[in-house]
Amino acid sequence: MTANVFTREHAIAKRRFAWGIGLYLVIIVGGSYALNHLNPRPGWLAPAIAIAAAVPAIYSILVGQATTRRHEGVERDILYRSTSVAFFATMAFSLSTAVFDSFVRGTAPHPWWFYTVGMLTWLVSALVMRRQLR
């Protein structure tokens, strides 16, 4: 594939994104290991690890979003539309589980479910939109 401004900047952004996510995983895995093995465990350590992990994760998300936002084209359109679909899917799922839980106590799913629904909807809707525009 020919390298133009678009492909070049996207390649750089992808690399930065991967570094950020990699660092995030290293901090989370290393932090979890430290928390499990330290005895006594200092009270400030868990929040410190959480904050340290959030920095590269937020960096990765911002790099990805900023690069796509800066460029014209279907990629930006797909990002906006799929994000919107995922947002509403997550909202609908949260609302229905919250309503259900208020009628029948103890039925609220694990928080990972909300994340999974949002991410899967985002992924699937982006893939469908990409296929439509191919």
């Binding site: 678009f6 460029h71 014209e72 084209g73 525009l133």
Partner: protein, 62 residues
């Protein structure tokens, strides 16, 4: 929205990738514009018009 991007590109014997390179977009974007599945933003439409030395009104027919 109907447009004349494909005709104008073919007149110049450019590939979709060559046009994409000049516009600074992906080849998929050029393809989506040509197949009228995607309406370009105003800055991109202006870039196309400038590149083909046409007015936006002549290139894009609502």
């Amino acid at each position: 929205m109907r447009n004349k991007v494909r005709a104008l590109r073919e007149e110049r014997n450019w590939t979709q990738q060559e046009l994409a390179d000049q516009l600074g977009v992906s080849r998929q974007t050029v393809n989506a514009i040509e197949t009228e599945k995607y309406d370009p933003s105003l800055p991109l439409a202006l870039k196309l018009a400038k590149l083909f030395a046409q007015s936006v009104e002549k290139m894009f027919i609502p």
